[in-house]
Amino acid sequence: MSMKISNRQVDGVSIVDCSGRITLGEGSVTLRDTVRELLSKGRKKILLNLGEVNYIDSSGIGELVSAFTTVRNQGGDLKLLNLTKKVHDLLQITKLYTVFDVKDDEAAAVKSFN
């Protein structure tokens, strides 16, 4: 299953709903393009909802890191929402769980940006 992505605005926060796989190739590129497009519109509060992401490889992890640093470098913030167990475990073993601000409640996550 390839990656599907859509975004919506909630109280000034861009929530990016991702589903499928974030892997080398299409999935990583789709995520990169979406984040770049949001930043180009001045939307710098980004919440990546990974609740439907069932697979991520090292390239996908790299893309998450790239998105995080790109947004931070532009004065914004990027947080993660609703990690599946597989993605959670991957972020744990790569020590990135401590780098990302990970949320499990959408409303609380949106409030945390303000």
Partner: protein
């Protein structure tokens, strides 16, 4: 015999040079080999094949996932870093199953990886790097990992023990 007896051996041949693979598998029922192009499709196919073979070898779902992710990462390294998508270079993928182990070997025709230059992705200065986690993930997911670089390419051997990791050490050698 780890690979189960199958009525139709062609089911094992998802891609690659079919007749050659068929012959090897028909002879031994324990080993299957593929010679593949240096493409993204190869990465996906290697992962899918690893998933199927690991499941049919009797590993539980979580272990199948780890094995298939390790194979995907090794295939990425072979296609992307090793062969650099060169259409003239091939990736070889071998699966061999014994009563003790599932052994997967991935070989490329690149310049050979310099193992000493693989950075530690957990080091604080590397945490925010966007690449360099593939080998680390492979080592995390498999019981033994052997990396054999040469001037004509890199061979990486991934071993998963049927009965879990050995007591003495996780990694055999590099």
């Amino acid at each position: 015999m780890r690979f189960p007896a199958r009525g139709n051996e062609d089911e094992w041949i998802g891609f690659g040079v079919g007749k050659f693979i068929h012959k090897i598998f028909a002879m031994t029922k324990q080993r299957v080999s593929y010679t593949l192009d240096s493409t993204l499709e190869t990465v996906d196919n290697a992962e899918q094949t690893a998933t199927r073979i690991a499941a049919e070898a009797g590993f539980e779902e979580d272990e199948v996932m780890r094995i298939s992710m390790a194979v995907r990462e090794a295939a990425i390294n072979a296609v992307f870093h090793g062969n650099a998508y060169d259409p003239g270079k091939k990736v070889r993928l071998d699966f061999e199953s014994t009563a003790r182990d599932l052994v997967i070997t991935i070989s490329d025709q690149g310049k050979g990886i310099d193992v000493s230059k693989i950075p530690d992705p957990l080091a604080p200065e590397n945490l925010l790097k966007t690449s360099g986690r593939g080998i680390f993930l492979i080592r995390s997911f498999m019981d033994e990992v052997q990396i054999h670089p040469s001037h004509s390419g890199t061979e990486i051997k991934l071993i998963k023990h049927v009965h879990g990791p050995a007591v003495n050490g996780k990694e055999a050698s590099q």
